[in-house]
Structure formats: structure tokens, C-alpha cells
């Protein structure tokens, strides 16, 4: 019954000074909105970053830093010396060595400098590439002069008016190659070899036969399900220690990278959340300010109520409910505003928008806390007013 009384008195008071109420609501809702928007954007960015890796698969791994660029011809690791690796490392499910070289690519009299990848038949599948037109290279293409082009070359061909690229000829290493496929742009932020988008893929053995170059630049692979990733990495490291003496290969796995990114992104979310909380505290101080002004302005009213028999806790209850209502409605508006803000930003950045319950619960929880915390002091002050002094106030 008393609670109803507090709510009634608080509502009337808030409605009687709409401007002040509005300003307090604005402050608190901007605070809540910034917490929700910041935390949501942190989560969205995290998902966005992880998605590119998850699309690639968490079992993906890449081994690099194994080629010696100063040597040509037969390098440190020829293709045949990699054949034994899957047998020595049972955790590996798939395994695709590749070589990167550089060549001038000539098409219809135009020439471009481009990366040329020598790839094995399973390179396309291991990298989970998507074919835009035509077909990927396979094992039967080995030693044949067929190639698959990446998005950059495709774009340059479009610019010189070639729209039907399948079957077109490219001059690479002074040899005529037939385009059998075009791959779609692969996500930039992944572990895949960057040369896929930039260059041309030709069969590894064709590259070896034409240029005499048999030096594996890197290896992409996939691990079996449910293997211990760090143990597998250690095992692979051990194998390479035996075949490469001069340098330490660099092994990256998607799952480790995702773990690291998760950590970084959680840190980002935390940081954004803290920034949001600062805004919220400013909003809370606004509520406290409004409440203190309200208490000061209503000293006489407090005196009358005390004379009529209101206890200290009745006065306190009324003012706390007032602050609580401010924060409740400010919080609701802030949640809507925050979700809207996060949606707008993700829309603008073309991220996949989603809202998890964390920021909503956080927003609700925090606004209730702010209301009680910043409402408590003014309410306490109001309740401590001596009735006689309150009554004398104008």
C-alpha cells in the first residue's frame, strides 16, 4: 500500500516538472545507450573478425617461412620431401604444399606483373575456395598448362573487355596457359595465402617443369577432428626441424588464432564497455543532480509530509522511487537507443547485426543500480531534513 503511495507521489512529481524530468531521462538514456551500443559493437566486431576464420574452418593450419628466397632452382624443400610429412604427423587430415613465384602475365597485348602459385590438386579444397566460373584445378591438370585466376586478374581482364574468361589464353613464363576457372574473392583477413586473390594458380608440376623451380613456399593443411592442436603443432615443428636446418618454420592454426582474437576482442569489448560506463556515470550524476534540486525545491513539501506523520523512510522511499522511475524509463529509452545505434553502425559498416542478451541485461541491471545508487543520497538527504526546518522553507 505504501509502495503505491510512493509511486503515485513520484509519478506526480516527475510529471509536474516535465522539462527537468526530460533532461534527466535524456542523460540516463544516453548513458545506457552508450553502454549497450558499445558492448554490442564490441561483440559484433568480434563475431565479424571470427567469422572470416570460422568460414575457413577451425581445423585449418598454415606452415610458412620454409622457403629460402635467395635460392632458385632446387630449394631447401622440394615437393617430394614433403610427401612424408602426413605419414609422420597423423593429426594432419589434408595437406597441400604450394610454391609462390612471380611472373609477367600477358593477355591480349596487355601485361601485368603477378604472383604465380604452383598448387597441388587439393589446394582448392583445402583452402575452401569458391569457384566463380569454370572449375578448379585438379590432380589431372598436373603438368598441363591450365590455370585458375584470382579476382585481381579477372578484374583487369574485364577492364580490357574480356568478359568470358574461361578458355581465354594467358602468357605466363612465356608459355600459353588456358584459363579453366575463376575463383571468388577470398576473405582478406584469413590464414589463406594472400596470392590467391592477387595472382594466378597453375599446377605445381607444370611450374616445376617450365621454370625448374621446386621450392615449397608454404603448406596449407587441415587437422583431423578432436586432435590436440598444440601437440600437433609441436609434432609438425619437430618434422621440420629435421628437414629444414637453417630456419624455424612458422606454423599458424586457425584455432589458436581464433583463441587469440577472442582474447583481444574481449579486451576491446571490455574497453568499449568502460567507455560506455563513463557516459552512464555522467548520466547518473545528472539524475542525482536533478534529484538534489528536486529535494531542495520541495523542502516545504517534505516538511508538510513529516507533519502529517510521514516517517523518514516514507520520505526516502518516495524519492528513491522517483529516481528509480527516472532510471527505469531512461533505461528503456536507452536500450532502444543503444540497439538502434548498434544497428545503424553495423548497417553502415556492413557487419552482421545481432544483439545478445548480455548488453540488454547489463543495461537493465546497470540502470537500476544507477537509479538506486544516485537516488539514494538525495533521498537520504531529504529524509534527514528536520521537519521544523523543512516546514519553514519556502
Amino acid at each position: 500500500m505504501k509502495l503505491y503511495l510512493y509511486f503515485r507521489e513520484a509519478t506526480r512529481s516527475l510529471l509536474s516538472s516535465l522539462q527537468r524530468t526530460f533532461l534527466a531521462l535524456l542523460g540516463i538514456s544516453i548513458g545506457i545507450a552508450s553502454v549497450i551500443a558499445m558492448v554490442s559493437i564490441g561483440e559484433i566486431v568480434k563475431e565479424e573478425a571470427l567469422r572470416q576464420f570460422q568460414e575457413l574452418g577451425t581445423d585449418f593450419l598454415v606452415i610458412s617461412n620454409i622457403a629460402d628466397e635467395t635460392k632458385t632452382g632446387t630449394g631447401i624443400i622440394p615437393l617430394r620431401s614433403t610427401v612424408s610429412i602426413p605419414r609422420a604427423c597423423p593429426s594432419l587430415r589434408e595437406f597441400a604444399p604450394y610454391a609462390v613465384t612471380f611472373s609477367t602475365v600477358i593477355c591480349s597485348g596487355k601485361s601485368w606483373g603477378s604472383s604465380v602459385l604452383g598448387v597441388t590438386g587439393n589446394f582448392h579444397a583445402v583452402n575452401k575456395l569458391t569457384i566463380d566460373k569454370g572449375r578448379p584445378l585438379s590432380e589431372i591438370d598436373q603438368e598441363m598448362k591450365n590455370c585458375v585466376i584470382g579476382e585481381r586478374i579477372a578484374e583487369q581482364m574485364r577492364q580490357i573487355g574480356i568478359s568470358n574468361m574461361i578458355g581465354s589464353k594467358l602468357l605466363i613464363f612465356d608459355h600459353l596457359f588456358t584459363i579453366v576457372g575463376v575463383v571468388k574473392q577470398a576473405s582478406e583477413n584469413s590464414l589463406r595465402p594472400q596470392e590467391i586473390n592477387d595472382g594466378v594458380m597453375i599446377p605445381y608440376l607444370t611450374l616445376k617443369r617450365i621454370t625448374g623451380n621446386d621450392q615449397v613456399t608454404g603448406i596449407v593443411g587441415r587437422l583431423k577432428k578432436n586432435v590436440n592442436v598444440s601437440a600437433a603443432v609441436e609434432q609438425i615443428q619437430g618434422i621440420f626441424d629435421q628437414i629444414v636446418k637453417e630456419r624455424k618454420p612458422y606454423i599458424q592454426t586457425a584455432s589458436e588464432l581464433i583463441g587469440q582474437m577472442n582474447k583481444q576482442m574481449n579486451l576491446l569489448t571490455l574497453f568499449l564497455g568502460i567507455v560506455g560506463c563513463i557516459a552512464l556515470v555522467v548520466g547518473g550524476v545528472g539524475v542525482m543532480n536533478v534529484m538534489l534540486v528536486s529535494v531542495a525545491e520541495r523542502r516545504r513539501e517534505i516538511g508538510i509530509r513529516r507533519a502529517l506523520g510521514a516517517r523518514r523512510r516514507d520520505i526516502q522511499g518516495q524519492f528513491i522511487v522517483e529516481a528509480f522511475l527516472l532510471c527505469l524509463f531512461g533505461g528503456l529509452a536507452g536500450i532502444a537507443l543503444g540497439i538502434g545505434g548498434a544497428y545503424g553502425i553495423s548497417r553502415f559498416q556492413q557487419w552482421h547485426f545481432f544483439i545478445s542478451q548480455t548488453p540488454i541485461l547489463l543495461g537493465f541491471g546497470v540502470s537500476a543500480m544507477v537509479g538506486l545508487f544516485f537516488g539514494f543520497y538525495p533521498a537520504w538527504q531529504a529524509s534527514k531534513l528536520r521537519p521544523i526546518e523543512a516546514l519553514r522553507a519556502n
Partner: protein
């Protein structure tokens, strides 16, 4: 009414002193007041302004504490009660009527009158019904849903009296109840007090500086310079 309850005064003050501290000076306002008010009496407290009558009224109304002295309310010592107990006595036993009416501006007349009952924990329906009964009694039944701003001074004071009566208190304390009203309306309010005293036996203590109002009260105290200068009781 038994002889026993008649024997216990509603209010009994003994040697009440009140000193205000102004800077380094102690300023005595009340210098030892003895007075008792019995059930059913209508008492006026008169005196020059600054003579301490408002201070005395605040002490009687448990809004302020004396510096020294004894105060028993219906035989109960009230000097050392805690804030909640004092609030409870104000709520249940004392009805206040102020010079400036002191109605809560955002509430209707009926809601104002119901306020002490709500603080007591009564239900909304019941307290609203009680409030309307008392508004009827003071001749404001048709204005129950008006806001104080829409009422004249005299009407506001009637609502305030209804509010003081609604809690069925042991005593009504009225501080200059006619002070903000013109003579005619002031007399109407005085008539209402007299009627309530006579017909319902309500105990009333009234502060006034208006001799014409004071003259209508059967019992009078004159306070001058912090002491009761004269006490007179009309033979009724």
C-alpha cells in the same frame, strides 16, 4: 467519558525551555513554560510576534524538541522518543492547521485529506471515503476533486481542517489559522473551529495574534518574552 480520562491532560508541559544558538550567543526563546490542556478544551495562545508562541506550538506538535523540560502527551513522556515514534504520534494523535494552509499542490482536496491515513497504512479506498466524509463536514464536499490552486484561501483552509480532522486526532494544533485570510473568511473558519469543539468535543489549540479571534476561545494563554504572562479561563 470517565472521570479518569478527564483527569489526564492531553498535553502537559513542565518547565519547557528552548534556546537557539546564534553564532556564539545562546538566545533563550522559551524560558520555562508550564501549561496543560485537557480533553475537549479550546485554547488560544496569544502573544507578540517573536515572543515564542510559534516555537511553543512546534514543540507541542512534536516538530521541534525543547532544550529542557518535561512533556507528556496523554500521559506518555515524549521527550526522548525516536523519530519513528514521534512521526507515529503526529500521524495518529495530532492534526495540524497552518497559516499558509500547506496543502500539497499536486494532489486533489480529497487526496490531501487522505494523506495522513495513507501514511498510517490505510487502504486507498477506505481513506478516500473517510476523506470525503470530512470534506463534507467542513462544507467542501463538492470540491473534493479540485486542486488547491483552484480553491480560495478560505476553501483551502477548510480542506486543511478536514485533513487535520480525518485522522481522528486527540488534538488539533492551529498556527495562525486565520492569519492569511480576510476578517470575514477568518471568522467563518473560526466559527467552524467553534462548532467542531462544541458539537464534536474536539480539543483545539490555536495560536493567534488577533484579539478578536482569541476572545472567542474559552481558555487563553498569553506568552510574552518566553514566559506565560497571563492565563485566563472563561467560565462556561
Amino acid at each position: 467519558m470517565t472521570a479518569e480520562t478527564r483527569a489526564t491532560p492531553v498535553i502537559e508541559l513542565k518547565g519547557i525551555k528552548k534556546t537557539f544558538r546564534v553564532g556564539v550567543l545562546d538566545l533563550p526563546i522559551l524560558k520555562g513554560i508550564d501549561l496543560s490542556i485537557n480533553k475537549g478544551e479550546m485554547t488560544a495562545i496569544t502573544g507578540t510576534s517573536g515572543g515564542g508562541k510559534s516555537t511553543l506550538m512546534n514543540i507541542i506538535g512534536l516538530l521541534d524538541e525543547p532544550t529542557a523540560g518535561a512533556y507528556s502527551f496523554e500521559g506518555r513522556e515524549v521527550i526522548n522518543l525516536d523519530d519513528d515514534e514521534l512521526s507515529s504520534i503526529r500521524n495518529k494523535k495530532i492534526g495540524f492547521v497552518f497559516q499558509q494552509f500547506n496543502l500539497l499542490p499536486r494532489l486533489s482536496a480529497a487526496e490531501n485529506v487522505a494523506m495522513p491515513l495513507l501514511y498510517r497504512g490505510e487502504s486507498i479506498g477506505k481513506s478516500d471515503a473517510t476523506a470525503r466524509t470530512f470534506l463534507e463536514k467542513v462544507g467542501m464536499g463538492d470540491r473534493a476533486d479540485h486542486n488547491p490552486m483552484e480553491l480560495s484561501g478560505g476553501q483551502q483552509q477548510r480542506v486543511a481542517i478536514a485533513r487535520a480532522l480525518a485522522g481522528n486526532p486527540s488534538i488539533i494544533l492551529a498556527d495562525e489559522p486565520t492569519g492569511a485570510l480576510d476578517t470575514k473568511v477568518g471568522q467563518e473558519i473560526m466559527d467552524l473551529f467553534l462548532r467542531l469543539n462544541k458539537e464534536d468535543g474536539i480539543t483545539i489549540v490555536m495560536i493567534t495574534h488577533d484579539p478578536r479571534i482569541a476572545a472567542q476561545c474559552p481558555k487563553r494563554f498569553n506568552i510574552c518574552d518566553g514566559l506565560i504572562k497571563s492565563e485566563s479561563e472563561a467560565v462556561s
